[in-house]
């Protein structure tokens, strides 16, 4: 027999343990996707419990349900339009007052509600007294105490979900806004009631309140109705800004009236967190500690990842050798050996790094430090036209641009996020380092270290200038205001961090894997045909492309071989080195490649430097392009990232090469 399905939505403020509760309920049966039409992440999961299939949708964490951000619109539209059977609001028991603000709005959506009072242990530990029965009575909703990080209260919560589905003992309590507002609410409701379509679909009281608040999104919902003219006339006669302030004010007044009955001795200071912050955000120590932590995170990433990376490299090398020597016919061996195994192997060597990077990011987020990082860096970022929250994604870019762009999801403002996504590719990722090591090592001798360092600095400078440039041209406007909760420090939940790592790592493998496989096959075809030529030689299509594009790149000091290597590098930048190996007939030996580069009169120290600059900037690799498309949801911006990168790279390399020549190098 088929289980009965119950649809549950999880709502709540950020930093209240929503994700932890979601993981505790659904375990590994999760699906991560996007909300239709927007780039906000949607997570759903199913839990079979006592003969029911409880389908849980994790709504974005929000403080309110206005039209302020996409997250808030997504959350409330899901509740209104999809009408889940039950909405669970997760409330941080140690921060009742502000959490109840969302409750007052959820109740206006006239949905069945259950409140999960999370982190009760922390609240009780610091001496809060919670009166659960009284709370249940006042809010007229069932309340379950949970400690999601230790799986406490989860079954009870699910029991309540089933109970509430069949027993509507509780109806939720809506708050009153006082004479003036309420009479206007009634007036609007009366008008809305004349449209049966609207009254069937939406809670009218909620709609009236939102209209009074000047909610644009709700106004569009009414826009098509025949009542829209009457509504507009009524709204034009009042001072909406005044109403907006009043309504928010009345909500907090209502909370102030009920809150002391639910909890006494609450609102004590977060002393422990305060003490930690006295050090971590200290005027003098804050920045050094921040930099040290970030440096440590990178060291840790590479220390943990190196053994795995080496292993993956060895496996793929072994595969390439064995497959190529055994497979028939030769072209197939070449496709699989040179193309697929080489290309995919190059990408998979990044997987350990990416998994650990995501794991550490999640730990930082769960501990509460990520908010402090934004707090510390905001001033600096604001100066270059970005938001404090942009800093961590940019920093992650040094590891790999793909997770860096995925990490921009924490930036709410669309423009702030877009700018960050567009400048991340200039941050020199790990895949570019082998190119510098080869070229700087070959041509700059003892200065090699300085040259490599210069490349990293150049990447940062170009990113900063680009951000400023974008702000004053196509993405006009100031960065979004910095209005951010500093959550109390907590011990991060291991399970949440592992799930986060797994979800994002799997996404990287899927995305990068597919795109790079396609890229690799195309490049292989171009390098192998026309039939009968040597792989990647001058006569191949890719060689012809090299000759075709060479005049364009000649002012930068590149010959056709370098051009071909750059074409290969579109798939993944570290392939530039491998393909130079092929083109110079040096195979996999770096010493042989260095020797043949030095012997080639077409490659000078200056053109090598120019090639490094070009490789750094010229374009995001296909995996990065793929993730830019996914995260911006726009081909236009993806194409822009591509074109802008190539333009910047060309100009910079031109200046380096021609400038160097003028100076007599």
């Amino acid at each position: 027999m088929e289980n009965t399905k119950i649809r549950v939505a999880l709502a709540g403020n950020p930093n209240v343990g929503k994700t932890t509760l979601f993981n505790a309920i659904t375990g590994s049966r999760q699906h991560v996707g996007n909300w239709p039409g927007v780039t906000v992440e949607k997570k759903t999961g199913i839990r079979s419990y006592r003969g029911y299939d409880i389908e849980v949708t994790d709504l974005p964490g929000t403080y309110s349900l206005t039209a302020y951000s996409l997250d808030e619109i997504v959350a409330r539209d899901y509740i209104i339009e999809e009408k889940p059977d039950i909405v669970i609001q997760i409330i941080d028991a140690s921060n009742l007052e502000r959490n109840l603000y969302l409750t007052t709005q959820l109740m206006e959506l006239e949905t069945e509600m259950i409140i999960a009072l999370n982190m009760c242990d922390l609240a009780l530990e610091r001496g809060d007294k919670l009166y659960i029965d009284r709370m249940q009575e006042i809010l007229a909703a069932p309340i379950v105490q949970t400690v999601a990080s230790r799986d406490i209260g989860i079954n009870e919560l699910l029991d309540r979900v089933i109970e509430q589905k069949y027993n509507d003992k509780y109806h939720g309590r809506e708050i009153g806004y006082g004479d003036i507002i309420e009479s206007k609410v009634l007036e609007i409701e009366k008008i809305l009631l004349t449209d049966p379509e609207l009254s069937k679909r939406y809670p009218l009281r909620w709609m009236s309140i939102k209209l009074l608040e000047g909610d644009r999104n709700v106004r569009t919902k009414v826009g098509k109705s025949h009542v829209s003219a009457a509504i507009n006339e009524l709204l034009a006669s009042i001072d909406q800004e005044e109403y907006e302030a009043d309504i928010a004010d009345k909500r907090y007044v209502a909370i102030n009236a009920i809150f002391p009955q639910m909890c006494t001795r609450c609102n004590v200071r977060m002393t422990k967190s305060d003490m930690i912050d006295r050090v971590l955000t200290n005027k003098y120590l804050g920045i050094p500690i921040f930099l040290a932590l970030m440096w440590g995170a990178f060291e840790l990433t590479f220390a943990f990842a190196t053994p795995f990376t080496d292993m993956i490299e060895r496996i793929f090398l072994w595969l390439a050798v064995n497959v190529t020597s055994r497979l028939e016919p030769e072209w197939l061996a070449s496709l699989i050996g040179d193309g697929i195994i080489g290309g995919v192997g190059a990408v998979l060597t990044f997987v350990p790094n990416i998994f650990i990077l995501f794991f550490l990011l999640s730990l930082l987020e769960g501990s509460g430090y990520l908010a402090r990082a934004a707090f510390i860096m905001d001033r600096l970022m604001y100066k270059i036209g970005m938001h404090g929250k942009s800093f961590i994604p940019l920093l992650m870019g040094f590891g790999c641009n793909v997770p860096a762009i995925m990490a921009t999801r924490s930036i709410e403002d669309e423009k702030d996020r877009l700018i960050t996504i567009l400048v991340v590719p200039f941050v020199s990722c790990g895949a570019r380092l082998p190119i510098y090591i080869l070229l700087a090592g070959a041509f700059f001798g003892r200065q090699a270290g300085t040259v490599v360092f210069f490349m990293y600095v150049l990447g940062i400078v170009v990113a900063v200038i680009s951000a400023k440039l974008l702000r004053s041209t196509i993405v006009k406007g100031k960065p979004a205001p910095f209005i951010m909760e500093m959550p109390p420090y907590r011990v991060p939940t291991l399970r949440t961090s592992i799930v986060h790592m797994w979800d994002n790592g799997a996404m990287y493998i899927k995305k990068a894997g597919t795109l790079i496989l396609i890229g690799v096959v195309i490049i292989w075809l171009l390098a192998s045909f026309p039939w009968g030529i040597e792989y990647g030689s001058e006569e191949s299509y890719v060689g012809m492309m090299g000759h075709f594009f060479a005049p364009l790149l000649e002012p930068l000091g590149f010959d056709w071989k370098m051009t071909v290597a750059l074409v290969f590098g579109l798939v993944a930048k570290e392939i530039v080195v491998a393909s130079m190996g092929v083109l110079y007939g040096a195979g996999d030996s770096p010493e042989a490649l260095t020797a043949s580069l030095l012997a080639d009169p077409a490659v000078t120290a200056l053109s090598a430097l120019s090639l490094m600059v070009f490789s750094l900037l010229y374009m995001p690799c296909v995996a990065t392009l793929g993730v830019i498309k996914k995260e911006t949801g726009s081909w236009k911006w993806t194409a822009f990232a591509l074109a802008y990168g190539i333009a910047v790279a060309w100009i910079m390399a031109f200046f380096v090469y021609q400038g160097g020549k003028l100076l007599g190098y």
Binding site: Y63, S64, T66, Y68, N95, L96, E97, R98, Y101, E244, A245, A248, D249, Y252, V253, C266, N267, R269, M270, S273, D274, D277, R278, T281, N282, K283, Y284, G286, I287, A371, F375, I376, D378, R379, L380, Y382, G388, A480, P481, F482, I483, M484, E485, M486, P487, P488
Partner: protein, 78 residues
């Protein structure tokens, strides 16, 4: 008693919000975060580079930039 703006408080100063003059989308967000007239607010600390500023309000900690803080009027509570 004289009205001052939020950004002129010193760490540890306690005040009551009298008027929220921030405009634009930030206005709504600040209301939602508890920055309504009548709320008690305390300046906790300033970021190492001097901006933003961290406050305690409604039992939790909130940071905003000086730019917004200078549009919020308060009365100091002694």
């Amino acid at each position: 008693m004289s009205e001052i703006t939020l950004d002129t408080l010193k760490p540890g100063d306690l005040a009551r919000i009298t008027k929220m003059r921030v405009k634009g989308p930030a206005r709504r967000k600040l209301f939602d975060m508890g920055m309504v007239a009548g709320s008690e607010i305390e300046l906790v600390r300033t970021a190492p580079l001097g901006d933003p500023i961290e406050f305690q309000i409604k039992g939790y900690h909130l940071s905003i930039r000086k730019e917004e803080a200078s549009q919020i009027f308060v009365q100091k509570i002694e």
